[in-house]
Symmetry: C2
Subunit: 213 residues, 2 copies
DNA sequence: GCATATTTGTCCGTATGTATA
DNA sequence: CTATACATACGGACAAATATG
């Protein structure tokens, strides 16, 4: 049987991000292995990868559970985003292929907003920022963003108010794209800094209202 | 038996970074497991973690080998460094505990330079930059830097001319620290940008002279 | 505090697929 | 092309740690 492992890791990753296993849920090796039709050993290897990506938490002799981001995690995620995203946008070229991805993400966000499909709105927002990072043409920075974006999605899952989290940023994405194309990268970077601060405040506010640490 | 796994991963990581397994070396599961006194399953779990960190390369059905950074890898590593390090330095406080680590790294580099202990000079240089990143107080950025620094050490191992790689930067570290303390973060950040460009050119020059792609 | 049950950590054996000599 | 070597994946087993009664 060929590389089940890689497929398994990706499948587990997607199911966790999609909220099938709520943050904090303990993932039993035996039951999950049986449920997924793989052996414990194979599942454990996938666990190690996901733990390294920050999606699950591994406590020795106590097993793994879906990561449940704390306030400190959210603060650090936004700190990292502020280091990477504005700089990538400032140095990005309007002719970069990622700009197409930015535009498509904006449009998907707008149509999903009309349909009140908040879940897709959130996905589109993430794709928008993923495209911004892609402007940097750096596999390592993209990987960093992929991991922290996944963690952030877990935080969103816990908040469970997708409209408040995602809807306000659709028009901001449109504005940011126009600023980038009409006024250039540095101006867009400045706008993005304010955007990220607002986004962080939105998430942190919802978090504290949930009395989570 | 307690968490052998974590210890095993760290031990393997250290041995790879120390050059015990040269870049490109194939790591056989059976022989290495026997050599380390662990089972293949345990070793495979450690492999997955190290592969995720970029230290080893995993090709399905062909096993793992120690990563052998290409020119493209080095370019990307320095790109990522330019995104993180100058910004961390620019925003860093002179009162941050990491400044002590910066100073200690500079001094270790200077004494090791006199002793012509190039290996320790390289370690001290890396510790210096690690302290710069620590100024940002971001676990995720520190993890990113830890991984790319390890990859960079593999590139250094292949070049095998530690004096040319590390010696020129001891005085630059001293200068950078003084600039940071006397003229502030932004001025030091600007100096660091030129530093990193020079460092990248040094590594890439040695790489192309080795005719490696 | 103790005894038990559950779960993880680790190892072995084995079958199969893949690449290479 | 066959043969060999090795990685992949599975299932079973037991010890150790943790959780539970």
């Amino acid at each position: 049987m060929p590389d089940v492992e890689d497929t398994l890791t990706n499948a587990l990753r997607r199911r966790i991000i999609d909220g099938e296993f709520a943050p904090g849920t303990r993932l039993s090796e035996i039951s999950l292995a049986e449920k997924l039709g793989v052996s414990r050993n194979t599942l454990r290897e996938a666990f190690r990868v996901l733990a390294e990506q920050g999606l699950i938490e591994h406590v020795p002799h106590r097993g793994v559970s879906v990561a449940s981001p704390t306030v400190a995690d959210v603060v650090d995620i936004y700190r990292a985003r502020r280091y990477v995203e504005p700089a990538a946008l400032a140095a990005g070229s309007p002719l970069h292929p990622a700009v197409t991805a930015m535009r498509e993400a904006v449009e998907l966000g707008e149509t999903s907003l009309e349909a009140r499909d908040w879940r897709t709105v959130g996905t589109a927002n993430m794709a928008f920022h993923d495209a911004i990072v892609a402007l940097a043409d750096s596999p390592r920075l993209e990987r960093l963003f992929r991991d922290i974006a996944a963690e952030l999605r877990l935080a969103f899952l816990e908040i469970d108010n997708p409209e408040a989290l995602h809807a306000p940023f659709v028009t901001r994405n449109r504005s940011l794209l126009e600023t980038f194309l009409e006024q250039g990268g540095p101006a867009a970077a400045e706008e993005l800094r304010g955007y990220l601060i607002l986004s962080e405040q939105t998430v942190l506010g919802a978090f504290t209202r949930l009395r989570r640490g």
